[in-house]
Symmetry: C2
Subunit: 424 residues, 2 copies
């Protein structure tokens, strides 16, 4: 029986190590969230700076770049701790690859900033660059969520990833809308794109609400600035329903749009920080709980070892007894044996139900994976760049008035007709 | 760029570590296969020994027990190496829990053998005990397959698990049929059970054929003893279509049945060993390949470090350039930068497609998981033991003439009507 208990302890230790790792992941996700936020602000400021020919926001830009640099140092330090840490669970390779993609992006930031400072880029080019870098950072968060082995933490990470993604889409919508209002007009294609930004955003926040804990969902519902939300809605409606030729957009609404969006986004920042805090707290709690249960096992193991020094190797065993409830009292040794067998079964059941829950949380990540797979297929088959493949999917979705995920599924359903894809 | 490459290397190292782990898993699965085979033989021999009141197979039994003990020592040694090894990927906790369940079973074997030797058990009781222990050993193999992160290895492990499971069902069918023929008669319920054993067995070998490599499938098809297979089929038909009241079974067929089944099972043993060997070989090959690719990265990193000592931090970066093919030749430094970005993207794509393939392999394990979940649900809701829950599912499948998996799905579909199941 000793060795059975030893493996029960080993199983617990595994769980604790994974929770430790998740705690680090929680830190990583938190600090990435802050860098993403800082870069989103820098993106907005750089836009205004470029659009005004360097006349506006020069000082804000300097301050924001300094803030970005400070957070970037923290992110790099967290990356370094990742690397030096012991091996990761299942998806370590994918997580590291995502980091490997982000780091050249961070290294390219000084050059990007230099070009913005020299007014050598169009606002759209600068925006696209920041969008690319932020997408890379969010991909790290995605992998972190996908690699979590504890179902509750995985659920919170899925909520967190979707919240961050929703916030990024809100930021992109702010920039897109600002440009549209500032230009005084909008065409049908841009209206469709705008609606897609809104729809994807809402789906992200819906997944967040489905997967987050009730108090955080309540916080999110409660903290949204009502007036700003209403104003944003009004302007969204105005812009996305305007008949292109007859009613051009009100250029004056540009500032009002930007302010309303900014208020909404700032409120998101608070929720995101609370989410990150909650995530780390749940990791800490779970580690403490698992440690105390591990102590219980260890005490039992000591008792058993003291006992087995006397026990007969051939003492009748109850492993093969299927009548688990004995009416007659069993000797102490057999009670202990029964209780260990029960513990092993209980643990197996618990791990099984954890694994089921985990599958549910991960299903939410699947939608994104399907889109990525469809993109990969298009890239291989049509020799497109990632950007082109994404644009093609999005364009098809717009043209056919379908959701991106539906188009991705259609593409994947045709996979076998596309010769480049190697078949198993 | 350096740090990007460093993480590319870290990602590779992760993959190599996981492959190392899989190599150990392959060894574990191989040695468990041998123990299962030895226990299956001991089960058959013990049955005859008990049925003959200790008159037959006493010597064979002694020899077989000695063989079991030798293989058991190897299994235990492999378990011990597992425990002392570094942490496992994702499902370490579940794998260890399965081992924790098996060890008390192995510890209880001497007592079981003592009772068999003293003729203190009925053949059915002895059979049930061996079935329970073998199921525990196969559950370890199942977790090993479920925890594999390399899609090809995962595929081979899924094939291996299903082959072992099919072989175990063949062993159970041999025992069940022997008892039926020996008793000279069969009722409708036993006929149904027999058909279920055949059906489950065939499904296992079908999954094996779907997931294994072509040469192994060919080996499997080629090595089946044709005459024995035909004789087994004839006796299966006789027994499962016999009208219970009118045509009792031919008692003399008992030996012929046993021999035909044994020939089939022995042929399986060879395939299983080849499978285990192939699995380990593929791990070794993959590790060698990954190591050589890792060396390539390292060489590149050295080149880059030598270079970056001279390089300007603010040298224009290409991360944000979306036009990936420059017509004009780029300076050496930028070529290298481009090639690293390409490597990162290539690696991400490769890992993504591995993850997709892996999902396919794991889907095959899902069927078993669904049955386990349905059992768990019945255990919680109806306060049944695992055995009772399994019997209930099987009975329902028989009565309704449906597959076990279909019944399990129906049970799970009703989950929300069962109050004990906690809802997320």
């Amino acid at each position: 029986m000793n060795s059975g208990l030893t493996f029960l302890i080993a199983a617990r230790r595994c769980e604790i190590e994974e929770l430790d790792q998740l705690e680090h992941t929680g830190e990583l996700v938190g600090v990435i969230g802050r860098l993403v936020h800082a870069l989103q602000r820098e993106r907005g400021i750089s836009n205004v700076f470029l659009a005004s020919g360097g006349q506006r926001f020069a000082q804000q830009r300097d301050r924001q770049m300094a803030e970005c640099l400070a957070v970037e140092r923290e992110v790099r330090a967290t990356f370094d701790r990742l690397e030096t840490g012991v091996r990761r669970a299942g998806n370590g390779a994918r997580l590291f690859s995502r980091v490997a993609w982000v780091l050249p992006g961070l290294a390219a930031l000084p050059d990007l900033r230099r070009r913005i400072g020299a007014l050598a880029l169009q606002p759209e080019q600068a925006t696209a660059a920041f969008v690319k870098l932020i997408a890379g950072l969010l991909a790290v968060v995605f992998e972190a969520a996908d690699g979590a082995t504890d179902p509750e933490i995985s659920r919170l990470l899925v909520a967190m990833f979707n919240f961050m993604q929703g916030k990024e889409l809100a930021g992109q919508e702010r920039a897109f809308g600002s440009a549209a209002f500032a230009s005084g007009g909008i065409d049908a294609e841009r209206q469709q794109h705008w609606l897609h930004l809104i729809e994807s955003q809402e789906r992200c926040f819906q997944v967040f609400s489905d997967f987050s804990d009730a108090p955080l969902v309540a916080l999110w519902r409660g903290c949204q600035p009502k007036a700003a939300v209403a104003e944003r809605e009004r302007l969204r409606r105005t812009a996305t329903t305007a008949a292109p030729t007859h009613s051009p957009l009100d250029i004056e609404a540009s500032q009002s749009w930007f302010d309303a969006c900014s208020q909404c986004i700032d409120a998101m920042k608070d929720v995101e920080e609370r989410l990150a805090l909650h995530l780390r707290q749940r990791c800490t709690d779970k580690i403490a709980q698992s440690r105390s249960e591990l102590e219980g096992y260890r005490t039992l193991l000591d008792t058993l070892q003291a006992q087995s020094a006397r026990a007969d190797e051939l003492e009748p065993s109850i492993f093969f007894d299927d009548t688990s409830v004995d009416e007659v009292p069993v000797p102490y040794g057999r009670q202990l044996e029964r209780s260990i067998l029960d513990m092993v079964q209980e643990q197996s059941r618990r791990l099984q139900s954890m694994s089921d829950e985990l599958a549910t949380a991960r299903a939410a990540l699947n939608e994104r994976k399907l889109v990525e797979r469809a993109k990969g297929l298009l890239m291989a088959h049509r020799h497109l760049s990632e950007e082109e493949a994404h644009k093609m999917l999005r364009q098809t979705a717009m043209n056919q008035n379908r959701r991106l995920i539906e188009v991705a599924e259609s593409v994947l359903a045709l996979a076998e007709y596309l010769p480049e894809r190697p078949k198993r």
